[in-house]
């Protein structure tokens, strides 16, 4: 198969024109079942020794070759070229969010700092057993869905929150955190990782995810980071870490729909920040509120129920037998 690989290149250390990103096209002839990585290696070996990229295992296990292929992050070694070629061209760019070192190589420092920030090692309170921990195979298989993460950074590359807010822990680190919060061996004797759940409920943590689903799409290993983030939210709320904007937003959302059958968009943000006791946060909303008012987009003050609201309430009664947990302080109980 003849194909043109269009590579976004850059050498930030160079003097002159290559200091800024530029495009270079490489026409190559590759086997029909060749991967995008095969094509890039062929270019590097036969055509242009100055092209830099990371790659090693060629079988989607080392996590080196994440890059954007036709605009979306993925592993070059796991992408068969003929499935992505468009009009004879495959466009390849470095992963997003992280700064470029050279060509397709990005600087992963920020990625690893976030991983280290979640205390990425098993913390068992109390004495270790003499032999192995006795835990169910199902629990281990469930964790394998997360430990199959190869830290390739595809999710981070395409995370829409990290793009604008570098303080967010991000999908890879939060999936890593879930690997511990869901591990029956981590935390107290019931396998509850209280300290982690508290820390992850803080700003930069699980509530900063906007649920855009990009990380789930990008992940080449089926880890589904966003689903893990949602699972941590649930674990945290269950343990009583619900006195934060995210948890209150979730509760207020649920309450509104359960009560009236639809969302009360006026009261939702007020409840999310903690009601009228949190005046500073409410004042922050004022400019938005005024703009909405001026443009006629203010939600109605009188919130009406949907027709047949009783049917909705009946549904909620069937689905939600547990009363919400009492609110506790978000101050760390661990000092």
């Amino acid at each position: 198969m003849d194909v043109t690989i269009r590579v976004k290149r850059q050498d930030p250390e160079a003097d002159g024109e290559h200091r800024l990103p530029y495009w270079q096209e490489y026409p190559v002839t590759i086997a029909d079942n060749a991967t995008v990585l095969d094509a890039l290696i062929q270019i590097r070996e036969d055509d242009d020794g100055t092209l830099s990229l990371r790659c090693s295992c060629r079988s989607a296990i080392c996590g080196s070759c994440a890059m954007r292929i036709n605009g979306h992050a993925g592993l070059a070694c796991k992408t068969i070229a003929n499935t992505v070629v468009q009009d004879g061209v495959i466009t390849v760019e470095p992963a997003g969010v992280m700064p470029v070192v050279k060509d397709l190589v990005v600087n992963f420092d920020m990625f690893w700092e976030k991983i280290e920030a979640v205390d990425p090692f098993l913390k068992h309170m109390g004495r270790e057993p003499d032999g192995e921990y006795i835990v169910s195979n199902d629990a281990m298989l469930h964790l394998s869905g997360v430990t199959s993460c190869i830290m390739c950074g595809a999710c981070v590359s395409d995370c829409t929150v990290l793009e604008v807010d570098p303080t967010f822990l991000g999908p890879a680190a939060l999936a890593k955190a879930y690997r511990f919060t869901a591990d029956p061996r981590d935390g107290d004797s019931d396998g509850v990782s209280m300290e982690r759940l508290w820390a992850l409920s803080e700003p930069t943590g699980v509530w900063d995810c906007t649920r855009c689903n990009e990380c789930v799409q990008a992940c080449p290993k089926g880890v589904a980071p966003m689903d893990r983030i949602m699972a941590i939210r649930e674990q945290a709320i269950q343990q009583g870490y619900n006195n934060n904007n995210g948890a209150r937003h979730t509760d207020a959302f649920t309450e509104s729909v359960a009560h009236s059958g639809r969302l009360d968009e006026l009261r939702l943000p007020i409840k999310s920040v903690g009601g009228f006791t949190n005046m500073p946060a409410l004042m922050d909303y004022m400019p938005v509120a005024f703009r909405a008012l001026r443009r006629g987009k203010m939600p109605p003050i009188a919130h009406k129920n949907v027709d047949n609201v009783e049917a909705v309430r009946r549904l909620f009664r069937q689905l939600e037998p547990d009363p919400p947990a009492p609110r506790v302080s978000n101050n760390s109980p661990f000092g």
Partner: protein, 562 residues
């Protein structure tokens, strides 16, 4: 002048053996650093799929049974004292890894579950699906973070510094910036992995280029049994990517083009689970005899059922779909023997010490020797953990009351700078590293593979001489500093050529068939003359060979049948 970096113990390579060594050395109180040309989790330990062996006493298993299986697997070339150390330690090391957080599959009672593996009479392979190596590697990295070991990630070692016969440090290229640094050390532990990329094709990752073996060889150290190269029985048609032995461990069959289970004729008892050398030879014999299809035979998993495959073999199923377009749930996949592992390596004792004072080696780059002529599946992960830890412990102790060797730091660093600059300044004409590496790999795979003979090996030795001459002028097209992989590949090729020489010379020297070495001109094992190791050191005209006896404790060599 930048500040001088220095550490009591410096570990080169951050796969399982290297990280285990660094954690042990740090725990022993040594100021420890680890240096790796890739980030630790990118290391090739990832590729170990099937599991890790251990005989757990409370399962009714016995370390001596494990030792016997390992010795028989080695075709009696393994040193039995080292094998005893490994098999005795296995249970405790396994439980350590579980406590660190490895998510091992369980049995119905919630205890560690096992699967069967080749060359062993009982199921003692503990596993995480079919990505055990990755699971262990990532957990070891977690422990490395916790340990406080200094990390130099994406630094490539270009030279091992020896001063008065004592390890004194390394020189390394910081890949991101292109800066060359000297790191002083009292002790250097090499854990740089194998050298599989000098074969083409190979299951090995592109980073597996024999760096540590080359460093030791050039510093006057000893390599041993380099001719013992494992061809894995199941590598994927086309790309040559590994399909785990776990597939056969879970019950998959090997079939020829007519659907016959040909292993009946080669290993009537163990069938598909005979040792790897035996199975690879059987496959190659069938393929050469016209019973294969396009140079392959078939691995048939279709009778295992979707549920089992999805729970225990899901990653390799995905590889088959991605790279061969074949779903093993529905149809047999075409496979062939492929270069996979080297049993040979840097000669060490059971503490990981080499013949160079202060230099240690562990993992695939080392030869202690627990694998002898043929490694059993799932013994490699165990080897890395057990001997990584022992090396780290010993190096930590060794450096305790010692001062840093003194030497001319600036002069040493400047000499290495000039050597590298000379490479960069070469004219751009001439063969690139890629062409030389490909020719080397193809020659090795043609003549120093599953079946070997004198004529073929000599042809490859000639090829290697000629390739080395071309290598001396190999150009580097990339003249830039940051992330100059063109330069690194050229340097790696030097290590690979050294390793290739020793493999070919060892294969020519050993005039018998034992383990992975099968000489069609000497088809029998010959204990009278060849029950010994072959040690290789660097001479003016190439590797010089010498003999070393095999350590036999209590298992007398006998005929090997599966």
């Amino acid at each position: 002048m930048a500040e001088v970096l220095q550490h009591d113990v410096l570990v080169v390579g951050a796969g399982l053996a290297g990280m285990r060594a660094a954690i042990a050395a740090r725990a022993g109180g040594a100021n420890t650093a680890i240096i790796s040309k890739v980030h630790p989790v990118r290391s090739h330990s990832n590729a170990a799929q099937g599991g890790i062996n251990a005989a757990l006493l409370d399962r009714g298993d016995d370390w001596e049974d494990h030792a016997y299986d390992t010795i028989k697997g080695s075709d009696f070339l393994g040193d039995q004292d080292a094998i005893e150390v490994m098999c005795r330690q296995a249970g405790a090391s396994l439980i350590d890894m579980e406590h660190m957080g490895v998510t091992f599959n369980r049995d119905d009672d919630g205890r560690l579950g096992t699967r069967a593996f080749g060359g062993q009479r009982r199921a003692r392979t503990f596993f995480v699906g079919d990505f055990t190596g990755q699971a262990l590697l990532h957990v070891m990295f977690e422990q490395l973070i916790k340990s406080g070991v200094q990390r130099y990630e994406e630094w490539f070692v270009t030279a091992l510094i020896m001063e008065d016969g004592q390890a004194a440090g390394v020189i390394a290229l910081e890949i991101r910036t292109g800066e060359l640094h000297l790191i002083r050390a009292k002790s250097v532990i090499l854990a740089t992995g194998g050298c599989g990329r000098l074969f083409e094709p190979s299951t090995n990752a592109l980073i597996v280029t024999g760096d540590g073996m080359g460093l030791v060889y050039n510093a006057g150290g000893q390599l041993m049994d380099m001719e013992m190269v494992q061809y894995h029985p199941t590598t994927l048609a086309g790309s040559g990517v590994l399909i785990s032995e776990a597939a056969r461990g879970e019950g998959a069959y090997l079939r020829d083009k007519d659907g016959n289970r040909f292993m009946e004729r080669y290993a009537p008892n163990m069938m598909e689970l005979a040792s790897r050398d035996v199975v690879s030879r059987a496959e190659q014999t069938e393929i050469n005899g016209g019973n294969g299809v396009d140079g392959c035979v078939y691995l048939d998993c279709t009778h295992l059922g979707e549920a089992l495959i999805m729970e225990k073999l899901s990653q390799i199923r995905e590889i088959g779909i991605d790279l061969a377009g074949t779903d093993m749930i529905r149809e047999p996949i075409p496979i062939r023997p492929g270069m996979h592992y080297i049993m040979g390596g840097i000669k060490t004792d059971i503490e990981g010490r080499t013949n160079l004072n202060g230099v240690y080696a562990a993992g695939e780059c080392a030869n202690v020797s627990v694998h002898g002529g043929n490694r059993l599946g799932a013994n490699s992960l165990l080897d890395t953990i057990v001997f990584g830890e022992r090396s780290g412990n010993h190096a930590s102790e060794f450096t305790r009351d010692m001062s840093f060797p003194e030497f001319d730091i600036n002069g040493t660093l400047n000499r290495e700078r000039r050597r590298i600059q000379e490479m960069l300044d070469r004219p751009e004409n001439g063969d690139r590293w890629s062409a030389i590496r490909r020719e080397m790999g193809e020659s090795m795979n043609r003549n120093v593979a599953v079946f070997r003979n004198e004529e073929g090996i000599e042809e490859t030795i000639d090829d290697l001489h000629q390739l080395r001459r071309r290598y001396e002028n190999v150009p580097v097209h990339n003249k830039g500093k940051n992330f100059n992989t063109d330069l690194i590949f050229a340097l790696e090729l030097g290590y690979m050529l050294d390793c290739a020489d020793t493999i070919a010379v060892g294969a020519l020297d050993r005039k018998e068939s034992r383990g992975a070495q099968f000489r069609t001109d000497y088809p029998e094992r010959n204990d009278e003359e060849w029950l010994h190791h072959i040690v290789l050191t660097k001479g003016d005209g190439g590797p010089i060979t010498s003999e070393l006896p095999v350590t036999i404790t209590k298992w007398t060599p006998e005929e090997r049948k599966y």
